[in-house]
Symmetry: C2
């Protein structure tokens, strides 16, 4: 376990936690600026930490342009994955950070600062942990027994994309929910709470760490078109590996 | 503040909290029984408390048939509002309890056992509190500046109902999310995090307490067809009162 990183992410989580509870009312100007205010606070805090601890490494963050350095190591950071939940008052958002060496993810951190759930894995341990316990995907293999999550908000165009392509799964599974924070959604597949998460919109920052956690917990990630997973492509299909979400589809 | 009730709800919340974190994997049989297991645990705990503390009063719970007594007082209980979130691993569920005297709600409790957010109001204080602070609805009055929530899961038939009736609002507001735990959704209107919550499915147990909290925080509840609010009718439109969600609609 990379204890230095964990400590920095916990400290950033405290800032985020205070922000979440503090904001009960705010005027229009504050609302409009809420996203950038807290995303930037966490972004600055963690980038400052990475720059002083690993001055040679590159940093890629959702909130700022990439800082390219000479090292083959790059840190991929999402200061708040699930910002809308943070704003709406729903405690389902996370700080996500992945370490990449020569284009391969080797270490992953996802932290929910409200529940204090810390998901972690690294290449050398070949398993994934939630706090101090190993997690594994579920054994559910049949669609009718499965819980699924889909990455849409309440926006008609976004919903339409999912209905056009996944209505059968939504109707056939045991229960399906919409979820718009990819990092925690993928981690909930990794821990066996749900069997699959399908998202057209998630980007590298949100899925780099979580998809590695899923992999080391026994699950699998695919690109949204069913092709081999490449975490730099937008969107993805994340499952426990036993449930085949592309069964019976053409192509 | 009814301290006896608060103490009992906090104790029930500890059972629920332990269940939420403990369940990381479960076999199919446990999954199928998960709902009844924890809903029933909390139901039994709180009904036992009410029966010994208020033996004359009636109790209406989501999980059991009504216990009618001679008193004009009735307790309306929802052991877990947002059970699907509890099962899926999302910390956005609550225990909800309302006291009704002669068909009128006079006291309301909504508690999220993960965040420890305790929403409360009673007739005599004429305001609503979150933990030790008074809460008020937001001042946002324009749809384009508003945050809205809609009570659908990822099920095509349920989604269709909302799209048929609320696409304009979804597209015109600043951001809209799907939320399927009415008690906390309504409380987040009451605390000014979002301006409106529209739900076709919520029942008396989930909305009795929260709609009184919303009322005493300055908000308003309507039946889903726009008629005067009657918390015994299924569904509702819950808003900060400044945003008119029925503007421009016929009828």
């Amino acid at each position: 376990m990379n204890k230095k990183i964990r400590k920095a992410i916990h400290a950033a989580g405290m800032i985020l936690e205070q922000g979440f509870y503090k904001i009960q009312q705010y005027d229009e100007k504050e609302r409009l600026h809420l996203r950038s205010e807290y995303d930037l606070k966490i972004d600055l805090y963690l980038k400052h930490f990475l720059e002083s601890e690993y001055p040679e490494d590159s940093i890629f963050s959702e909130e700022s342009s990439e800082q390219k350095k000479s090292s083959k190591t790059r840190w991929i950071l999402d200061p708040i994955d699930g910002t809308s939940y943070f704003i709406f008052g729903e405690p389902f958002f996370s700080i996500s950070m992945a370490k990449e060496v020569s284009n391969k993810i080797v270490e992953a951190h996802v932290f929910n600062p409200i529940t204090k759930e810390y998901f972690y894995t690294e290449e050398s341990i070949d398993k994934s942990n939630l706090n101090n316990s190993e997690i594994r995907v579920s054994d559910v293999s049949k669609l009718k027994d499965s819980f699924l999550a889909f990455g849409f908000s309440a926006h008609p165009q976004k919903i339409k994309l999912y209905l056009d392509n996944w209505s059968f799964e939504m109707e056939s599974c045991k229960k399906a929910l919409p979820w718009i924070g990819p990092a925690l959604s993928i981690c909930n597949v990794a821990r066996g709470r749900v069997e699959g998460f399908i998202d057209y919109g998630c980007s590298m920052e949100g899925q780099a760490a979580a998809s590695f956690i899923l992999h080391n917990a026994g699950g699998v990630s695919l690109n949204i078109d069913g092709s081999s997973f490449d975490y730099e492509t937008k969107g993805g299909i994340f499952s426990n590996r036993k449930l085949n979400l592309l069964e019976g589809r053409s192509g």
